[in-house]
C-alpha cells in the first residue's frame, strides 16, 4: 500500500529566504488587526459587558423576528438585538446592560419571559451583572498574560533565552491575529473566546517547540553550520510532522465547527483559525526570529556573507 505523503522526503524549501516577506506580511497583518480593533472594536458578549442573552425556540413554525423585536422594544430595556440562531425556529435575544445595578439587570429575564409567554421554549438564559463582567474581563486578560509568562520561563529553562523570546514573539503574533479575527469577523468575543486563545497559545507553542527542539539538536550536532542553513534544514526535516499534526488537529476542529452545534461555534471556529496561524508562525516567524536574536550572528560582520552562502546552499540541487 502506498502511503499518503504530502511532501516528498528531503524537501529543500528555502523558508528563510522568504523571511523578509513573512515578517512584512505578518507585520502589516498585525497592524491591520490593531486598526480594525480600534475602528470597529470587538463584538464583546455579555460575559465582559454585562447584559442578558436568551436563546428561545418557537413551539410552532418559524419565528417571527420582527414581532419579537417590537414586543421586546416595548419593554423599555434599551438596546435589544434579535437574530435567528442556526435554524428558523431558534432565536437569539441580546439585551444590553441595564442602568441601575444588579437588581435592574436581574429583572430583565422575568420581563422578557412575561412578554413572550409560553409560546416559546426558553433554551438558554445568561445574565451577567456589571460587577461580575468587569472581573471576568480582568481575569481573562490576566490568564493570557500569565500563561505567556509561565511558558516563557519554561522555554527559557529548557532552551536558551533567545528561544524563549522567539517563542513568545511568535505566540504574541498568533494572539494578535486571533484578536484581529474577532474584530474583522465580529464573531462574539466571550469567555470561551479567551479559552480559545489560550488553547491557540498552547498549540502554537507546541508547534514552535518541536521546531526549536530540532534546531537545538542540530546546533549541537553541526556546530559550524551557518544558522540560516541550519534553520532551513530543521524546518524541512520537521515539515511533514508539522503539517500532519496541523492536519489532524484541523480535521478534528472542522468536525467540531460543522457538527458541534451553534452554541460553541464561535469557540471552535476561532480555534480553527488559530491553529492555521499557529502553524504558519512556527515556520515563518518563530524560526527566522532566531536569526535576529542569536548572539553568535548578532554583531558578526560576516553575517551578510554567510547569508549569501546559505542561500546558495539552500538552492535545490
Amino acid at each position: 500500500m502506498r502511503l499518503l505523503r504530502l511532501f516528498p522526503d528531503d524537501t529543500k524549501i528555502p523558508f528563510m529566504r522568504w523571511r523578509k516577506w513573512s515578517f512584512l506580511v505578518s507585520g502589516i497583518a498585525s497592524v491591520l488587526c490593531f486598526v480594525v480593533l480600534y475602528t470597529h472594536g470587538m463584538n464583546t458578549g455579555i460575559d465582559f459587558q454585562g447584559g442578558t442573552l436568551m436563546e428561545i425556540q418557537t413551539k410552532s413554525g418559524p419565528a417571527d423576528l420582527e414581532g419579537i423585536r417590537s414586543q421586546l422594544n416595548g419593554l423599555g430595556l434599551g438596546e435589544v438585538q434579535v437574530q435567528s440562531f442556526g435554524t428558523d425556529d431558534d432565536v437569539l435575544i441580546r439585551i444590553a446592560r441595564q442602568e441601575g445595578g444588579d437588581e435592574a439587570q436581574a429583572a430583565v429575564v422575568t420581563k422578557v419571559q412575561a412578554a413572550l409567554g409560553d409560546s416559546v421554549d426558553y433554551r438558554r438564559t445568561e445574565m451577567v451583572g456589571p460587577r461580575v463582567s468587569g472581573e471576568l474581563a480582568q481575569n481573562g486578560i490576566l490568564g493570557i498574560i500569565s500563561a505567556l509568562c509561565l511558558i516563557m520561563v519554561y522555554v527559557w529553562f529548557r532552551f536558551e533565552w533567545q528561544y524563549s523570546l522567539g517563542a513568545v514573539i511568535a505566540t504574541l503574533h498568533d494572539v494578535v491575529l486571533t484578536i484581529g479575527f474577532f474584530a474583522v469577523t465580529q464573531v462574539e468575543f466571550n469567555l470561551s473566546s479567551i479559552a480559545a486563545i489560550l488553547t491557540i497559545v498552547g498549540y502554537s507553542l507546541n508547534d514552535t517547540v518541536v521546531v526549536y527542539d530540532r534546531i537545538r539538536e542540530m546546533r549541537r550536532k553541526y556546530k559550524r553550520l551557518n544558522l540560516v542553513v541550519l534553520l532551513d534544514l530543521a524546518i524541512n526535516q520537521t515539515l511533514t510532522r508539522t503539517t500532519n499534526t496541523a492536519l489532524t488537529t484541523l480535521i478534528a476542529l472542522a468536525a467540531l465547527v460543522i457538527f458541534g452545534g451553534e452554541v460553541i461555534r464561535s469557540f471552535t471556529a476561532s480555534m480553527l483559525f488559530g491553529v492555521l496561524i499557529g502553524t504558519y508562525s512556527s515556520i515563518f516567524i518563530a524560526a527566522p526570529v532566531l536569526i535576529f536574536l542569536d548572539p553568535q550572528l548578532a554583531g558578526d560582520k560576516s553575517t551578510k556573507k554567510a547569508e549569501d552562502d546559505a542561500e546558495e546552499a539552500a538552492e535545490p540541487a
Binding site: 433554551r123 460587577r131 481575569n139 517547540v209 510532522r241 489532524t248 478534528a252 460543522i258
Partner: protein, 536 residues
Amino acid sequence: MLYFSRWKVTTILLTIFVALVVLIPNYLTSDQIKTYWPSWLPGRQVVLGLDLQGGVYLLYQVDVNDYKQKRLKALEGDIRQAMREDPRIGYTGLGIQGDVVQLKIRDADKVEEAAKRLGNLLNPLSTGALGGTAVTEFQLDQGSDGLMRLGFSETGLDKRLGTVVQQSIEVIRRRVDQMGAVEPSIQRQGSDRILVEAPGEKDPARLKNIIGRTAQMTFHLVDLNVSADEAAKGNLPPGEILLKQKEGGMPMVVDETPLMTGEDLTDAQTSFQSQTNEPVVSFRLSTSGARKFAQVTSDNVGRLFAIVLDDEIISAPRINEPITQGSGQISGNFTVETANDLAVLLRAGALPAKLSVAEERTVGPGLGADSIAAGERAALIGTVAVVIFMLASYGLFGVFANLALVVNLVLIMAIITILQATLTLPGIAGIVLTMGMAVDSNVLIYERIREEQRLGRSPVSAIDAGFRRAFGTILDANITTLIAAIVLFQMGSGPVKGFAVTHVIGIVTTMFTAITFTRLVVATWVRYRRPSVVPL
C-alpha cells in the same frame, strides 16, 4: 527502548483494563448499577455539566449596603434606648449620615457617661484574649461639642459579612431542601458571594424566587385613621409607615414597629381553610411568641393587623377575638404552589441580608440534549476522520496510532469518571481537540523512525532511536501546552473550566499512551515479525 519487563507490560495492560471497568457503569442505568453491579467496584457515572443536562447556575451577591443600612437602623434604635435609660441623657440630631450614626450630646458634663453607654453598643465580635486584638463591629469617634459618631470598624464589618454569608448559605440550603429541588450545590465564593448550581432543575424561575426572597415576615397593627392618599402626601403620624399591598391592593398605613417577626414562628404548613377550601398557610408560634400574640390580640380586638412579607402586605385580617392558642392562618389568594412556597420560606427563616443575582446561566433540558447529540456527532466524525488520515499516512503504524487513540479516549473518559470532573460541551470539544493533537506524538515518533531508517539504521535500531529521540520533544511540546491548559483551568469557571479539565487530562493521557502503549505495541510487533524494513 524496545524491551519491556514483564511487570511493566502487566501494569500497562492492567491500567487499560481498569479504565474499561470504570467506564462500564456509564452504560448502565442507576437501577442496573444498584442491582447487578458489585458494590466493591467503582459505580460512578460521568457528571454532566449544566449545559448538557440543563440546569441553573446562579451567582448571588450579598447586598452589603442594604445590610449596613439595616445594622445602622438597629444601632440607631439601640442608641435611643441607651440614652433614655435613667438618668436620661439629652441629645439632638440623632440620625444616619451615610455610613455612620451620629448624635450630639447636649450637656458637656454628660459626654463621658454617654461615651460609656455608647461603648457598650459597639458589639464585640471577638475578645482580645489569647493575644489577639479585640474586634468590635462598630467604632466610636468623639468630635468636639459632644458630637458622637458610630460607624463600622473595617475588620468588624468583614467579620460580620463572613457570618452573614454563612447564615445566608444555611438559610438557602434549608429552603432548597424543603422545596424538594434536585440537589443543588451551594458554595461561598469570594468574600460576599454565594454560588448556587442546580443541575437538572426544571423550574429555574421558581428556584430563583425561593432563594432570592429575603422573606422577612412581620406583623403590624394597621392604622385606619390615616388614608393611604393622605399618607402618600407625606402626612404620616410619627412611628408609622405606608406599605403597599400585594397584587395591586390598596396601600395601608401601619405601625413601623412590628408586633412580631418571623423569628417567633416555629412552624408553617400549607393547609386549606375549612369553609372556602382556599389554600392557606397555617403557622405555629413559639411559647414567648404565643404569649406576645395573645396579649396584643386581646388588647386590639376589632382592629386590623397586616401580615407583611418583605415590605409588602400579604393580607390584613381583622382581629375578631383574642388568639391565645399560639397558632393562626395566613390567607392571601394563594394557589397551592404559592402557599407551599411561602410555608417553605417561613420555615427556613429570613435571609440576614438582601441577595441580588450577579450572574445567571440557565440551560433548558432541550438544549442540553441537543448539545449532547451535537457533541457526540462531532466527536465521532472527528475521530473517524483522524483515524482514516492516520491509516492513509502510516499504514500499519497508523493502525498502531489508532489503537493508541482509542486507548487514549478510554483513559480520558475513565479519569473524568473517577475524578467526577464535570463534562461540558466545551469539554467534549476539548476531547475532540485532544484526539486531533494526540496523534502528534505518534507522528513525531514515526517521522523520527523514518529519518533514522533513511540514515541507514536497521529497523530495530531505527525504532529504538525514533522513540528515544522523539521522547524529549514530546515532553517539551506537551508541557508547554499543559501550562496554557492549567492556567485556563485556574481562571475558568463553568463550561470553560470543563474544557480545561478535559484538555489537561487529554494531554496527560496522550503522553502516557505515547510512551507506554504505542511503544509496547510496536515492540511486540518487532518481536514477532522480525521486520527487515519498517513500513513507514
